[in-house]
């Protein structure tokens, strides 16, 4: 069994920097879990603590049923792959993969078996006699993975292993690593700052910020039900729109009001987006009546097609189009409405052009409301 249990894990450096604080996580056997967050959020430090490369300042770490806080890294039965892997330039692929085992005095026959098995899994058997200089970027990456696989560990720890690859190769290797996880049937802990990698690869994602876990959930849930403004902004590309608004209640109906109407000149417009009753689940909106809130909506729920505008009459606003970007299968609209940026992801056939003033509809069913002070989600 290679389940991991991190209980109240804390990392404080001698200089006083608190890198990870009260980290609690249960990772099941054979799970592919992703730690994601902006740089400096403590994800790599957490991984290095699991590996035993960083001392744990507080808390307990279990691999299987064994407390491993004081167990040496080599005895933890883990293997790591890092971002800046280096291959030994004068050695063949075979020797590169075998080198670590040789230094650990593994018998020759065993080394041969493991290297050939790893090469077969990674589909690099035909490259075993080549030297690193004769390999492509993707092939080198596979050799780096192979060096970890030959150790036959219970847990794989991967720290941004794809960061040094170009975009196309990265996308390809993402799939390769997912397949590898299925083939090996071991636990994978993967660190990345790239939310696309996180969303596409993991069975569960841990979103971190400032050394704290923000949310642990499946990719789908993180996207649809973020627990706070940070998670909502970090997951999803282009990111969610956040609009400063005020929550109103009129005749039992909730509205998010924003805009900048000037009472003297009557300039500017105030918009009221009618929120469906379902958003007031368990009266969660009641404490926020007449208070400032953050109103969030994902770009794909901002529409400029006529039929969708007609479909959402409660969410229509007027906005100035600043920039449009045609991505092929979709078009991004960067608009400004009453000083607030609202970006849309619309059909590529959209006729909106920079400089136009257009009507857009915000789908009220897909609105997220956040507390302005705590930044926590009020309703999804």
């Amino acid at each position: 069994m290679a389940n991991l249990s991190l209980r109240n894990i804390t990392k404080k450096y001698p200089g006083g920097v608190l890198a990870v604080s009260d980290f609690n996580l249960e990772i099941a056997d054979k799970e592919f879990i992703i730690l994601v967050g902006p740089s400096g959020c403590g994800k790599s430090t957490t991984l290095r603590m699991i590996a035993g490369l960083e001392e744990i300042s507080g808390g307990e770490l279990y691999i299987g049923d064994k407390l491993v806080n004081d167990v040496a890294p080599k005895d933890r039965d883990i293997a790591m792959v890092f971002q800046n892997y280096a291959l030994y330039p004068h050695m063949t692929v075979y020797d590169n993969m075998a080198f670590g085992l040789k230094l650990r005095k593994t018998p020759k026959d065993e080394i041969k078996r493991r290297v050939e098995e790893a090469a077969r899994i990674l589909d690099i058997t035909h490259l075993l006699q080549r030297k690193p200089a004769a390999l492509s970027g993707g092939q080198r990456q596979r050799v780096a993975l192979g060096r970890a696989i030959v150790r036959e560990p219970k847990v794989f720890l991967l720290d941004e292993p794809l960061s040094n690859l170009d975009a196309k190769l990265r996308a390809q290797m993402r799939t390769e690593i997912s397949k590898l996880h299925l083939r090996l049937g071991t636990t994978f802990v993967y660190v990345t700052h790239d939310q696309t990698e996180a969303m596409t690869m993991g069975t569960r994602i841990v979103v971190m910020k400032d050394g704290l876990i923000q949310q642990v959930d499946t990719p789908q849930h993180l996207y649809e039900l973020p627990c706070n403004e940070f998670v909502a902004s970090f997951i999803g590309s282009p990111q969610m729109n956040f609009i400063d608004a005020k929550l109103l209640q009129e005749d039992g109906v909730f509205y998010a009001e924003f805009g900048s109407e000037d009472t003297k000149t009557r300039a500017g417009v105030k918009y009221k987006i009618k929120l469906p009753a379902s958003k007031n689940h368990k009266d969660c909106l009641v404490p926020y009546i007449d208070k400032e809130i953050i109103f969030g909506i994902r770009p794909e729920h901002v529409h400029d097609e006529e039929e969708l505008i007609a479909k959402f009459p409660d969410g229509i606003i007027e906005a100035n189009v600043e920039v449009t970007e045609l991505m092929g299968a979709e078009k991004y609209l960067y608009t400004v409405c009453e000083g607030q940026n609202i970006n849309g992801r619309v059909a590529p056939t959209s006729k909106a052009r920079a400089g136009d003033v257009i009507k857009i509809a915000l789908d009220p069913n897909k609105v997220h409301i956040f507390d302005k002070q705590t930044e926590l989600t009020v309703t999804n």
């Binding site: 430090t45 890092f82 080198f99």
Partner: protein, 361 residues
């Protein structure tokens, strides 16, 4: 140089052994041979998966014996024939060639020479003479990286680094102490500190990833010529020492990026204490919580730019402004003003320095 050495021995052996003998290098090129015409040819040696073995083996009409260091046999001797006699010749000749190479390397040990330079064990005038004797290219740029092993595990870090940088004519790996290894790396003059940091992190990642060994790496500046290598080495040492105080969470510390930390590191502690008392009257810095200190750090990292910092911190701009106002109320310093910001930055660093328990004077 090895080619001439080997050729000399093989030439003397030619009459004693009535067979073709020669030496091939790692690229399977004949570098010495009893038949002079074959030198420079590519030898058709069928390589197996275990080329690093030093055992005698037979392929076709030739008997082979790899030799060199046990971890990494750089050369292979070949003797015509596949009979037991050929195996004997190969074994005897390889002993002779290995020994001559060993004595030669020791006498003209380039690595030892570099070691003497970086440790200031050689007179400046002698550097020039010895460099000429050893045919050193003194025009190239070199950088010293100091690798300090923090947590070890049975594996020889020296061997690992040696294998990562196998070109002995360009890169030198020197054992400084039990935990310190210096890497003198030939670099391009135009190399910037980012490239060097990438190089250092590839060393660090390999050591941790493959050998579970945690190492921190100090990087000196890139120097031209040999005599300034001592300077680059000292800078790498300073980078590690200063990094231990100011960048405790970093694995790689570059001398180029130490900034005012290096200056503060050399200040008398009494002066530092006085400065702290003057800046933070009534111990106001103590009342700043962890989150506020983190906000300040990010604000400095983003060049006092409120919008950029709020974006990086994923907080609303107004939230950040509120936090900055709160800091102003507590400390009397407005971080948005450059003069106040620099006072605050230095004070925070001085505090860190004093916390690291330096020798008081």
């Amino acid at each position: 140089m090895s080619n001439r050495l080997f050729q000399g021995i093989i030439h003397q052996m030619k009459d004693a052994i009535d067979r073709t003998v020669g030496v091939i290098d790692e690229n399977y090129t004949v570098i010495a041979c009893s038949e002079l015409g074959r030198i420079g040819e590519a030898h058709e040696l069928m390589v197996s998966g275990s080329t690093s073995s030093t055992d005698v083996f037979v392929r076709g009409q030739y008997t082979y014996k790899p030799f060199g260091t046990p971890q990494h046999p750089e050369y292979t001797l070949f003797v015509e024939g596949n009979d037991p006699q050929a195996s004997k010749y190969a074994a005897i000749l390889s002993i002779s060639l290995s020994n001559i190479k060993f004595y030669y390397d020791e006498k003209y040990d380039r690595s030892n020479f570099i070691k003497n330079i970086i440790l200031d064990n050689i007179l400046p005038g002698d550097i020039y003479l010895k460099a000429r004797e050893l045919r050193f290219n003194s025009d190239v740029s070199r950088t010293v990286l100091l690798i300090r092993v923090v947590s070890n595990n049975d594996v020889s870090v020296y061997d690992v680094i040696q294998n990562l940088f196998p070109d002995k004519s360009k890169d030198f790996i020197i054992n400084i102490s039990e935990n310190d290894i210096a890497l003198v790396k030939e670099t391009k003059g135009s190399i910037d500190s980012k490239d060097l940091e990438n190089l250092a992190s590839s060393i660090s990642d390999t050591l941790s990833g493959e050998f579970y060994t945690h190492a921190i790496i100090g990087i000196g500046t890139t120097v031209e010529g040999l005599k300034d290598l001592a300077k680059s080495f000292k800078e790498a040492q300073i980078a590690l020492e200063v990094g231990k105080v100011f960048d405790t969470e970093k694995t790689i510390v570059s001398y180029d990026n130490l900034g005012i930390a290096r200056l503060i590191y050399q200040l008398p502690t009494t002066l530092c204490e006085t400065y702290l008392h003057e800046v933070f009257k009534r111990g106001s810095i103590e009342s700043l919580d962890q989150e506020t200190l983190f906000t300040i750090q990010k604000f400095f990292e983003n060049n006092l730019n409120v919008s950029e910092t709020s974006r990086k911190l994923f907080v609303h701009r107004n939230t950040l402004v509120y936090r900055i106002e709160k800091i102003k109320k507590i400390t009397g310093l407005d971080l948005r003003e450059f003069d106040h910001a620099i006072v605050f930055k230095i004070a925070l660093m001085v505090k860190k320095y004093l916390k690291a328990n330096p020798v008081k004077y």
